[in-house]
Structures are given as structure tokens and as C-alpha cells.
Symmetry: C2
Subunit: 288 residues, 2 copies
């Protein structure tokens, strides 16, 4: 069966045709401009290619409630041209196929669970630490949705005792994203993260917030693996700092062999897929 | 099909025989003593009754990892006689039927989703605020499990500015359970919660912690309904305090009609089932 897949991002739409094995036969990249400019190019690419279903991993927030009349519609976003755009319905109408949408982070989690670093588990969480902080999860083979979609990047965190930064989240100020996103690092230290690699204070504080978040995710979802991606995680030394703090904070409370000092390296890991993660995950969505 | 159900609690085992509609035909209550005393009575009750499957909602922690050799085994618990007891395997062996176990709070969530206050949604969360704080969830019809089982009662919370209580959790001191369980209330104020109904400071602080937890659950799982039970929630005025704070803390961030001031009364609710919740949920487990 031929399937359509779109990774709809804030800067580009990656569109692909593939199959149920995750093979990709054809792919193009279309810049994200206003819907009237971008979408006709998208329809054009897929038209007449014989796809039977389509999956879309979208920038957001996007309505994931299948019972709502607004399923697959882009919600309030800084990209104002897109607010209210019915992404799923318009694709489905133009191409005559069923369209499944999900958040970019849920799709990344799905992709890792099918083809990446979480193929051996049933439940995994993917977190990206970049311009924002977002996370998605796969629970028993399905992405985690509910009310609308999780906003895991905005949970409350406890302040590091040496941190007086007031926080950068426009909604909550000092939530996780407000304290630990790439822009938060830059606002706190006056320089972008990439220039701060050598300053241990930066990463001690960063790891303090990220580890707290992971501990909350473990307590609430108890994923069998956590995958960390995004620009800030390019500071690969962060992995060990975070792992160490997670083990300390859990303090042996959750008894699982995965959460010991010896095994934590295989519990908190970088992504297994790089370039094609988004579009492959969208194929995964189209499959169900 | 006849099904067996057990609500295995710290003080009593409620054992029942029922069917796939949730009807209960026969029920007994057996006190929880050491396994050698309690379990033979349990086997005796079910023997020869023609049950084909069994569900057990158990006090815990209990191993829920179906891939582990220790599935259904009681883990470290203050009831030391039960540590390491293979609850699922021993029932399955003695009665010759497949046994599914889950935590008491997951079973309560399942019960509410089948027969109680969450029959109209796919994803719900059940939290009990009593001697401890525990929560369980149903996601797309299945209870939420992963690594072992969630420990949602132990998430980190931010301190109320007028609260100097150091916290009562033996593992984390000032986690949610440490700050907001029944014993935490008692330790903070020198009196049990039931005697403090008239003191608004008590419930302001209590609601501050519980609302924070619900907000984190909303950000992480985004359940379509939250059901709050347990001894402390007998202070029914707490519901409105919590609802108000949840709406305030979310600050419009998660856009869902369920989370508005008008609709929050139907989002955060007491349990719909009372006496038979645990044992009915265990029937629900046996069904799958
Ligand atoms: N090597 C790096 N070290 C630290 N921070 C980085 C690095 N690369 C990118 N970042 C930060 O990550 C953020 C961009 O995140 P990224 O995941 O690349 O994009 P986005 O989140 O916008 O999709 C920026 O705030 C940037 O400063
Ligand atoms: N009406 C009440 N008001 C406030 N607190 C209560 C009330 N009833 C019970 N509690 C508290 O709830 C706790 C017991 O919780 P409960 O859910 O009844 O049992 P358990 O958690 O042990 O199963 C005790 O700490 C008790 O002080
Ligand atoms: Zn925020
Ligand atoms: Zn605790």
C-alpha cells in the first residue's frame, strides 16, 4: 500500500511517499509560507500518486480530538497565517484519502518506537529541548493524546538554588520551558548555548531542570525509555549529567532494573533516527 | 462467561464472581493477614465456581511488567509478610485461569471509565488522596503502565508561600504525598483533617498542592476527565478550591472547552462508584 507522509514544520514541509515498511520512495521539501502558498504545492506533489492513507506530524498546537469538528486544525500559534487552518480536512478533501494528524513530538516518539532507539519497548517518551521544550509519548503502540495534546514542556519545576533567572515562558514564566529551553539559556547567560559548552555552571543548572522533568514523566507515565533530542542536547555531555541526577532524584524509589546507575545509559538516550525521523513517523501514523 | 475479581487491599481482600457486564453474583470479604492465612481462603472461595479469567486490583507496589518473570509479584511494602509474594502466579496456578493484575488506582480508573463518572471519555485519571496519594489512568481503554507502574503521588510540587511544613514522605520528604496526604495534613496542623473542616488555611494549602499535581497531569497525560477520591476528598468543599486553582494555574494555556471556568465542574469530579468500584474494576481487568 502506498502511503503519504508530511512533516509539517514551522520552516518547511517535508512531503514523502512511502510504504508500510517505512521505505520512502520519493520526497520533496516545501518552505512554510502562508497556507495559500504552501498548500497548493503540497497537494500537487501527492496528486495522482495513488496513496491510500496519509499521516501528518504537525507543528502546533493542533487539535487532536477526533470527536471535535475541529480535528486536525491548527490552533493559536505564532505563525498567525496558520491559525484555524484545517490541515487534516483540507488534505483529506483535496486528495480523497483519510488523514491522521499528530504533534511533531508524538510523531518523533512513534518513529523512534518503530525504527529508532525504542523498538524493543512498548512505551517510550521523546523530548526535544530546543527553541521550545516539547515531549510526546507512545503508550502500548499508540501516541498519547487525550483532551487535546500533552504540553509536557510546561510543567512546574523547582528552582536551582543558585539560579536567579526569572524565566522565559510567556505563559508561566518559570515552568520547565521557561527555565531550560535554548532561549532561556541564552537569556540567563547572555550568550547562546553553543558558546557556553565550557562553562560547567550552565549545564549543572540545565541538567537540574531537565532531570526534574524526566523524574516527573517517570512518576506519571513510567516510559520504558526516554529519548532526548533538539538543539540543546547537541551538548552531549548533558546526557551524563542528566542521567546522574535522575538516578539521585529517584533515590531508588521506582524499583526497575532500567533505572539503576549501571543501566541508566540505556534508559536516557539520544534519538536513533536523524534526518528522516519526522517523515518516517508520519508514515507510521498513516499505517494504523 | 464467569469471571473472578479481587480487590486486594491492605486491610481486606474483596473477592467476587461476576460477568462481562459488570454484574456481581457472589462476593466475600477476607481480612488481609499473612499470605499463608489469607490466600487459602481466597482459593477456597473461587474453587469449582467455573470462572474462566481473573482480574486483581492490588495494593502495591506490584510488578506489572508482563515481560518480567516477576509479573504480579508484590514488591517492597510496609506489609512485610507480602514482600515478594507472587500474587498473580499463585492464583493462576491454584485456579487454572489466566490472571491479570493491576494497581488499585489503575483499577479504580478502569472502573470509573466502564461504569462510573468517565464512561463518555477515552482517557481519564483517578487520584486518591488518603493515607497516601496515588493515581491511575486509563488511556484509550487500557490502564497506563510502562516500566513498572506510575507513582504519580510522588511528583515534585512547589511550596505554598505560607507553608513551612517540612514534608512527610519518607523517600522525598516534600513531594506531593509528603505535603498533601492525610498524614501530612495531620502532621502539619497537629490534628486529623476531619477535625479541621472549618479552618480555611488548611484547605487553601491543600488545594494549592493538589491543583499543582492536576495541572502536571494535564500537561503530561491530558486526560479527558479527572476523578478525585480518598478520605481527604470527603472534604467536599475542596473540589471547588481545586477547580478554581487549576483554571488559574493553566491560565488558558491548554485550549480545551473542558478546562474553562464554566465546565471545570464536570472535569474534576468525585467518583461515580462507591462500594463496588474496586471489585468491579477487577472484573473489567479480567475482561480484556
Ligand atoms: N550545539 C548547541 N548547543 C547548545 N544549544 C544549541 C546548540 N544548537 C542549537 N542550540 C539551541 O537550540 C535552540 C534551537 O533548537 P532546535 O532543536 O535546533 O530547533 P527548534 O526547536 O526551533 O526546532 C536554540 O535556542 C539554540 O540556541
Ligand atoms: N472526612 C475527612 N476529612 C479529612 N480527612 C479525612 C477524612 N476522612 C479520612 N481522612 C483522612 O484520609 C486518610 C485515610 O484515607 P482513606 O482514603 O480513607 O484510606 P486509605 O488511603 O488508607 O485507603 C487519613 O489520613 C484521614 O485522616
Ligand atoms: Zn510555560
Ligand atoms: Zn514521595
Amino acid at each position: 500500500m502506498k502511503l503519504g507522509a508530511i512533516e509539517a514544520g514551522g520552516t518547511k514541509f517535508v512531503c514523502a511517499i512511502g510504504d508500510e515498511e517505512g521505505s520512502i520512495f520519493e520526497k520533496i521539501v516545501i518552505p512554510t509560507e502562508a497556507p495559500e502558498i504552501t498548500m497548493p504545492k503540497v497537494y500537487e506533489f501527492f496528486k495522482g500518486k495513488g496513496i491510500e492513507r496519509m499521516g501528518v506530524g504537525s507543528f502546533g498546537p493542533i487539535d487532536l480530538n477526533e470527536k471535535a469538528g475541529t480535528y486536525g486544525q491548527i490552533q493559536k500559534t505564532p505563525k498567525i497565517d496558520w491559525i484555524g487552518f484545517p490541515l487534516a480536512d483540507s488534505l483529506s478533501e483535496k486528495l480523497g484519502v483519510p488523514v491522521t494528524v499528530d504533534t511533531d513530538v508524538n510523531v518523533a516518539a512513534l518513529s523512534e518506537s518503530r525504527w529508532g532507539n525504542a523498538t524493543d519497548v512498548d512505551t517510550c517518551l521523546y523530548i526535544t529541548v530546543g527553541t521550545g521544550i516539547g515531549a510526546g509519548a507512545v503508550v502500548n503502540g499508540q501516541t498519547l493524546k487525550g483532551l487535546s495534546h500533552p504540553e509536557m514542556g510546561h510543567i512546574g519545576v523547582r528552582r536551582h538554588e543558585e539560579d536567579s533567572f526569572s524565566g522565559a515562558c510567556p505563559y508561566h514564566q518559570d515552568c520547565l520551558e521557561g527555565m531550560a529551553s535554548g532561549p532561556a539559556i541564552e537569556a540567563r547567560w547572555g550568550k547562546a548555548g553553543v558558546e557556553l559548552s565550557e562553562d560547567p555552571r550552565v549545564w549543572e543548572i540545565e541538567a537540574h531542570y531537565l532531570a526534574q522533568a524526566l523524574v516527573n514523566y517517570i512518576y506519571i507515565i513510567s516510559p520504558e525509555r526516554i529519548i532526548m533530542g533538539g538543539g540543546v542536547m547537541q551538548q552531549t555531555h548533558l546526557f551524563d549529567l542528566i542521567r546522574k541526577k535522575v538516578v539521585e532524584m529517584l533515590n531508588g524509589y521506582v524499583s526497575s532494573p532500567r533505572l539503576t546507575e549501571e543501566n541508566i545509559n540505556e534508559y536516557i538516550v539520544p534519538p536513533g533516527l536523524t534526518n528522516e525521523a519526522g517523515v518516517k513517523g508520519a508514515l507510521g501514523l498513516a499505517m494504523k
